[in-house]
Symmetry: C2
Subunit: 199 residues, 2 copies
Amino acid sequence: MKIDVWFDFASTYSYPAVMRIGELATNQGIDINWRAFLLGPIFNQQGWTDSPFNIYPAKGAYMWRDLERLCSDLQLPYQKPTAFPRNGLLAARITCFFADEPWIADFVRAVFRANFARDEDIALPEVISTCLLEAGQDAENILVAANSPEAKQALREQTERARQMGLFGAPFFVVGNEQFWGNDRLERALEWAQGQRIS
Amino acid sequence: MKIDVWFDFASTYSYPAVMRIGELATNQGIDINWRAFLLGPIFNQQGWTDSPFNIYPAKGAYMWRDLERLCSDLQLPYQKPTAFPRNGLLAARITCFFADEPWIADFVRAVFRANFARDEDIALPEVISTCLLEAGQDAENILVAANSPEAKQALREQTERARQMGLFGAPFFVVGNEQFWGNDRLERALEWAQGQRIS
């Protein structure tokens, strides 16, 4: 059984989703495919040049309060990022290029913790290096590979695939052709992966 | 203990929320204030002249599938409305003007069933009359009152209040100053009403 989790490193609700999915999926014998992509180009095609949470202040204000409440309920460390949305390009290239490596889940979680629990700028190579170290990896070679034309192209293609699939936000959980949007849908998506379909 | 439920009769996710809240709140000894308002004027102020589910097709396509799946999970009768968003002005005026009547909850549910389970045009006085009958009321006097200047003004004021509260969608559950957006947040909102706050 498999589930694809599509996420953007700047996405606020991807934070609780990414922090929760590992244990829940493992307990149910479901494998996770980590699918990093960029929401920016998808938002651009909708005519947005910023996060909708910044474009629509009422929605943004609600989201920040909701995220704080949610993290408290889940007992997840949380610190409101002083910059939003942060540039997750480098982290996304790494995740896309090394998606099948056994350390990738630890790396993904480390980057989300950096952004949402420690308020660090995940655009900086030194911050990402620390996240790679947290995942037990030597940063130097991975950073070189992440800046290769192949890694850049892989992320472009993955983002284009997300757009073609109709993914308009993050996180998305995908099981076969079935899509589930948002941290709130994680449990239902895992049930679906286990074969609990509706009539 | 009290909870305010703010909703628009055209709002898709308000359907499961409205159908669920009555029993859940009653079981927990929580009173419901039914707060109908119009999303249209609020959307207009954000620069939208239609529902975002129509403006953004990927988001709309996802929502319709998600709603169908959700209603199936909840065993709620569901038929995709052949027109969206429907004009809920008359139903909202009635709900706003008669909000404290003991029959209002039955009326609200009847209108949502008409729109989302029977695909009826809730803009039509004859459809609303049937909904009033389902709630045990004589339609004629209520329809006259709903078209009075006072009823029109009451809905305008309630919609303006929603905007000032920062309500940018529906349903919203409000407990004191705490806001919860979406059918997914109903359980958490009821917990909050019972005094389960976060640190």
